[in-house]
């Protein structure tokens, strides 16, 4: 019974949603939206579940003096401090979201503007450094695939930069040099085919860069658009088609009750 009821609910909800997709007439047309509102309401109540879990977990760590109890204390101070600032603002101004003039804001919004937002910004800015370190690893041209990845990245970056003619030319020549060097390295490793291909491509890029040096900036943009518009888009669409079909298959499995791993059997 414990398994059957969720399966029946899943089946009914799934079938209703699929049917309403094809029937615009009321009450079917807005049923999906209505069910989403129900999900939001359930989500709102579930937030209480989350807060309860969070407070219990950290109180327990704090009272037992477990390892890292100080972080639990900081978390609890954060939770109750934010809550208190909201209640106080509400009592004073009639709403927790009170906005005063200029930089003066109600307590709750002060916490939001001057603590939460800067913390979010700090975390987000870390991404720049992580991208740099990940790119360094990903673009080390140890294999032919990694070299292709790095080449595509360099071409796209060159196309995105609002640089002048000389930097564009220097960038293209450095890229050509990189390909030639990489080719020579592969010849030393006795990978003749890969080495010759890389040297030929490198020389071709170098010659083209010198011959068409006046068009380097436009060329960089066109190359970038080609890379983004064809090889990148083709790969992306391949992944998306697979995703959509996989998603439909998963949905059919869920609706028919074949996929049950999300339901406890105990």
């Amino acid at each position: 019974m414990k398994r059957r009821v969720p399966l029946v609910i899943t089946f009914l909800a799934g079938v209703i949603i699929v049917v309403t997709f094809f029937i615009p007439h009321e009450p079917f047309g807005s049923l999906e939206q209505r069910l989403l509102i129900w999900a939001s309401i359930i989500g709102g109540f579930a937030a209480l579940l989350g807060i309860d879990n969070l407070i219990k977990h950290h109180l327990s760590k704090l009272f037992r003096r477990e390892r890292g109890w100080f972080y639990s204390l900081v978390t609890l101070v954060g939770i109750f401090g934010t809550l208190a600032s909201g209640i106080v603002t509400w009592i004073i101004y009639g709403t927790p979201l009170a906005l005063l003039s200029g930089l003066k804001v109600g307590g709750f919004l002060w916490v939001y503007n001057w603590i939460i937002v800067p913390l979010q910004g700090t975390m987000f800015s870390l991404l720049a450094f992580f991208i740099a370190s990940a790119a360094y690893r990903a673009f080390r041209a140890r294999t032919f695939d990694a070299l292709l990845l790095m080449s595509a990245a360099i071409l796209v970056m060159l196309g995105h930069l609002s640089i002048g003619l000389v930097p564009a030319l220097v960038g293209a020549l450095l890229f050509a040099l990189l390909l030639v060097t990489s080719g020579v390295y592969r010849l030393f490793l006795r990978k003749l085919a890969a080495g010759i291909i890389l040297i030929v491509i490198g020389l071709a890029v170098g010659v083209l860069a010198v011959v068409y040096r006046g068009m380097m900036v436009d060329l960089a943009i066109q190359v970038k658009e080609w890379v983004m518009g064809f090889p990148q888009l083709a790969a992306r669409r391949g992944i998306l088609i697979g995703l959509v079909l996989g998603g439909i298959a998963m949905s059919v499995r869920l609706i028919l009750g074949i996929e049950r791993t999300y339901i406890s059997s105990t």
């Binding site: 990940a134 079909l245 998963m250």
Partner: protein, 402 residues
């Protein structure tokens, strides 16, 4: 003298002439105003279309007016400040099965107004079937039949279904074992998805397998959560895995906790846990946005073996760069079938492959038809509007109409 008088008169400004020259001429109105019920909708919507005024350059605005009788009164419903030849009236005051009349006025830069003919009556109606979605219905029915068919076939021919190796899923046991050998915990994160996301449900099946293995190896499993509903589902799933392994006593509720529903707060929280607990293995499975690389790079920095999987194409390169194994998109959906080897689930995977073959064949065929039609239309005299181009257009319309 008479000549001078006539000369003087001829030099005087002609009152009638001035009036003619300065007489403001109203602009020409819009033409062929047509109003129709918006197709394939729930009603309360009408589509208007007209031909722009011949004096477009001096028109300041187009004003759409509506009335419930041809005599009026007409109420202004919108002012369109740029030359526009269509408008969809979705006013909440519109009632289904009720007659409405429309008029479009043009106002020129001098403020002169010209009205179109009154068009009506028209009734907004709700439709019982969205005909634009027939191709989707056909594909859905075809695909669903194929899924059921292959599931039945799989039930009969158990063991004959070949599924290609998915390195990321094969590595689960190895990764759990490695963590056990190192005496370190395992960390699993769903990212910032909700239980309404299919990817999160797919990730739950991977979590169950991991929970079972970690219970067998007596390794701690930490699952910090972004959404309380996902947390509750994760607790149930892990509990289930521990029961299946025969070790329900090892289950610890406080290892599967709620962190926060703030994206970067969650990233900071998980990063903190990774830095403090130093898990031997990290699983990143589900929905990820900008926090993907923040989590994956932190995991990489502590030397954890990382297995990622997401349905977000934008995040896949980050995971490929920072993780040891990555489940690319649909591989995440295939996880439960791959892990459990249940014939019914494997059957649905096979049907997915079949539909993929059909889809690729259709794309190739339509591309070929389009290319050939375009070449013929461009270079062969008399083939400007050939049947191949029409076929291509029909195919494109069929798949883009909804």
């Amino acid at each position: 003298m008479i000549f001078l008088i006539f000369l003087a008169l001829s030099q005087m400004p002609d009152a009638n002439g001035v009036a003619e020259a300065e007489m403001p001429v109203p602009p020409r109105p819009v033409d062929s105003l047509k109003v129709n019920d918006t197709p394939n909708d729930a009603g309360k919507s009408l589509d208007l279309a007209w031909q722009l005024s011949a004096d477009t350059v001096r028109i300041a605005k187009y004003v759409v007016l509506r009335a419930e009788s041809p005599q009026g009164p007409f109420t202004e419903i919108v002012q369109l400040m740029i030359p526009t030849d269509y408008y969809t009236d979705q006013d909440t005051l519109l009632e289904n099965k009720k007659d409405y009349y429309y008029r479009v006025d043009v106002v020129d830069t001098a403020g002169l107004v010209a009205s179109s003919e009154i068009t009506g009556p028209v009734r907004p109606m709700a439709q019982w079937f969205n005909t634009a979605r027939i191709p989707i219905l056909v594909v859905t029915v075809f695909y669903s039949i194929l899924v059921i068919l292959y599931i039945e076939l799989a039930k009969r021919d158990t063991g004959k279904m070949f599924v290609r190796r998915i390195a990321g899923l094969d590595a689960i046991d190895e990764a759990v074992g490695r963590s056990t050998e190192m005496g370190k915990p395992i960390l699993f994160t769903f990212g910032i998805g909700y239980l309404t996301d299919i990817a999160t449900i797919a990730a739950l099946s991977i979590l169950r397998r991991i929970a079972k293995r970690s219970a067998e190896y007596e390794t701690r499993l930490i699952v910090p959560n972004y959404d309380p509903v996902v947390m509750a589902a994760a607790q149930e799933t892990v509990k289930q895995g521990f029961v299946e392994a025969g070790r329900p006593d090892l289950y610890n509720d406080s290892d599967i906790t709620f962190l926060t529903s703030d994206q970067f707060g969650y990233a900071a929280g998980v990063d903190g846990i990774i830095t403090r607990e130093k898990p031997g293995t990290i699983f990143l499975q589900g929905i990820f946005y900008a926090e993907s690389l923040i989590l994956a790079e932190t995991g990489h920095n502590i030397g954890a073996i990382q297995i990622a999987g997401t349905v977000m194409p934008e995040q896949l390169p980050f995971f490929v760069a920072a993780c040891d194994y990555t489940l690319l998109g649909e591989e995440l959906f295939a996880a439960s079938a791959y892990i459990d080897r249940d014939p019914q689930l494997l059957g649905s995977l096979k049907s997915e492959d079949m539909v993929k073959i059909v889809t690729v064949a259709i794309i190739a065929l339509v591309s070929l038809v389009g290319t050939v039609g375009f070449i013929l239309a461009s270079y062969v005299h008399g083939w400007e509007e050939n049947i191949i181009v029409k076929l291509y257009q029909i195919a494109v319309n069929l798949f883009t109409s909804a």
